[in-house]
């Protein structure tokens, strides 16, 4: 990746992050923490790694993206708006009656959403089915799926992982967003995940852990994952819930926030700083 390309990805990340914050402010809160922790991976996927046509989101030759941790819908909508699937203005209808932007992704409503998710553990199975079908169809398309670390509590994830590993679905790149927190607290205090990398390796995945706040590290890991030919692949993203905004990283309960006046001041300041990054080129 050239410095220019990396700089572009950082701009995308800044733009997605700013949109998440603006969306939270417009709605006076929402699923902030888990939306922010996937900003960099979304930037890498939509800004560099994925094949798609934003003007033809159902293009049968596209790569697929499944947000198994569906509560991070605002993060996905923010990214899709940056990558021109729809006008940014429309995402602010989030959760209003009749909106195309429900809290959790709905493939029947939102352009660019490939799978309906929100009941945790299910998206990864759907991603497995898409990947299996793509293999049958003999195409070189990829499926990218983000599973939450808290979501790993769901047994269905492990059912799906066994399936993916057994069939060596290396056309499905599984990301685990290890942001260390879930709704009720730290994952280690709720249901201890122990060593996620070791677990995934034991399940048969070629697995590595990367800095989930680094576009460069994520993209390089995806390149390496695409070179794996004989097993399923998993990239564990070492992230922070609320990533990129220290103030929100440090709020104890940042899964679904209700914003205080002080919070909105931070949002305004953060959006201004982020805008300076991604608007620099204009």
């Amino acid at each position: 990746m050239t410095p220019q390309e990396l700089n572009q990805l950082k701009k995308y990340s800044a733009h997605i992050r700013a949109n998440v914050l603006k969306l939270m402010k417009a709605k006076n809160g929402g699923h902030l923490g888990g939306s922010l922790s996937i900003v960099e991976v979304l930037s890498v996927l939509y800004g560099r790694q994925m094949r798609y046509d934003a003007k033809n989101p159902r293009d049968p030759h596209r790569d697929y993206f499944v947000l198994s941790k569906g509560h991070a819908g605002p993060g996905l909508y923010s990214a899709l708006s940056v990558f021109h699937f729809f006008d940014e203005a429309e995402i602010y209808t989030l959760n209003e009656g009749g909106t195309r932007f429900p809290s959790h992704p709905d493939r029947t409503k939102t352009p660019g959403v490939d799978a309906t998710t929100g009941s945790l553990g299910q998206g990864i199975s759907v991603a497995a089915g898409i990947a299996y079908a793509l293999k049958l169809q003999g195409t070189d398309q990829y499926v990218y799926c983000i599973v939450g670390d808290g979501e790993l509590n769901e047994g269905q994830c492990w059912e799906a992982f066994q399936f993916i590993a057994s069939y060596r679905l290396n056309n499905l790149i599984v990301f685990i967003d290890d942001n260390k927190r879930q709704l009720d607290g730290y994952t280690k205090d709720i249901i201890n995940p122990f060593d996620i990398v070791e677990k995934m390796r034991a399940f048969g995945f070629s697995t590595e852990r990367v800095n989930g706040g680094s576009e460069e590290a994520i993209s390089a890991a995806v390149d390496r994952a695409k070179a794996v030919t004989d097993s399923a692949v998993c990239i564990v993203l070492d992230t922070i819930k609320g990533q990129g905004i220290p103030y929100f990283e440090n709020i104890a309960d940042n899964h679904s926030v209700k914003l205080s006046p002080a919070d909105t001041v931070v949002i305004d300041e953060s959006v201004a700083a982020l805008s300076a990054i991604y608007e620099e080129a204009k």
């Binding site: 697929y64 709905d106 490939d114 309906t116 009941s119 990864i124 199975s125 759907v126 898409i130 299996y132």
Partner: protein, 321 residues
């Protein structure tokens, strides 16, 4: 178009699973998008035969029913037409949320072979018995729900379903069921079939209980009670118009089902009767809010009152009361 003929003489029919598998093999030959998914019951369902005949169209998911429904949904997103099999409780109870979320709500297509519903679980016993699957599945918006009468109807039904999108739940025994229709008969989804005419009593039955209802009607006829029998193989959408039309002038309606009397055919028919304000009594033959248990099919049908004799006594008790 509906063009069916009821059998006059019994004939040796295939097991339902053989009908299911052979029909799927035929459908795969016609349409390469048809795939069969199995959760490690291929030997029980016969789906293993599809693995042999059409290996690229068989997906072994292992003992993970929730995942199987999700995988089927994902394959549907790539244009495949999935037929999944497991025992009825392991899809209706265990994977109900997956069938709802990844299936119905996501507007994906999944055809379910939910085998051995109700007492058909026989010696697999109470753990493997579902008396309540219709309650769950009927409540899924847009889902179509069937309890086919026999192999002829099952074969016809699968040919119909392959061209439709959505959630299609087909509950039927894996084994023998009494043949009702002549081979080649055709039907219509959402339309009941009047098998015997009658003016006093209306028996609405399906699946395993249809044969019992026909026998009960014959006995009642001899006892001077004119009894009509309708095959309600489509539980959803229910043939409301036919029920209202045929209930007219009857003195009693009896529903007969291999399912709990809560939330099954009887409840669906009760909705129709109540909403139309028909002043006709309804009796529900089915499982009276009980759990399943092991036993032969014959033993279980007697134990839970799913026999012609019981249907007959329900009718006669009503008139003698």
């Amino acid at each position: 178009m509906t063009m069916w003929t009821a059998l006059k003489e019994p004939f040796a029919a295939k097991e339902q699973r053989a009908v299911f598998v052979e029909t799927l093999q035929e459908l795969i030959d016609r349409n390469p998008r048809v795939v069969a998914l199995e959760a490690d019951l291929g030997g029980a369902s016969g789906f293993s035969k599809i693995k042999e005949s059409h290996p690229a169209h068989f997906v072994q998911v292992g003992i993970s029913e929730a995942n199987m429904i999700g995988v089927a949904a994902g394959m549907s997103l790539r244009g495949y037409i999935p037929f999944v099999h497991t025992f009825a409780p392991f899809v209706a109870r265990r994977a109900c949320d997956q069938l709802y979320m990844a299936g119905a709500y996501s507007k994906n297509t999944i055809n379910v072979f939910a085998s051995d519903p109700g007492v058909c679980a026989a010696t697999n016993g109470g753990t493997h018995t579902t008396f309540e699957d219709l309650g769950f599945i009927r409540a899924l918006p847009d889902a179509l729900v069937f309890d086919p009468a026999d192999g002829v109807q099952l074969n016809w039904l699968l040919h119909e379903l392959v061209d439709r999108t959505g959630i299609h739940y087909v509950r039927t025994t894996r084994k023998d069921i009494r043949p009702i229709y002549k081979p080649g008969s055709t039907f219509e989804i959402g339309k009941g079939n009047i098998l015997t005419a009658g003016k006093d009593v209306l028996l609405l039955a399906m699946g395993e209980l249809l044969g019992e209802a026909l026998d009960a009607a014959a006995r009642l006829q001899q006892a001077g009670i004119s009894t009509e029998v309708i095959d309600m193989f489509t539980i959803k959408p229910l043939d409301r118009d036919l029920i209202l039309q045929e209930a007219s002038g009857k003195k009693l309606i009896v529903t007969c089902e291999n399912h709990s009397v809560i939330n099954g055919l009887g409840s669906a028919v009760a909705d129709v009767i109540a909403e139309a304000a028909l002043n006709i009594p309804l009796r529900k033959v089915g499982i009276q809010d009980r759990f399943g248990q092991v036993g032969s099919l014959k033993y279980l049908k007697q134990t839970y009152g799913l026999t012609a004799e019981h249907i007959q006594s329900v009718v006669q008790d009503h008139f003698s009361a």
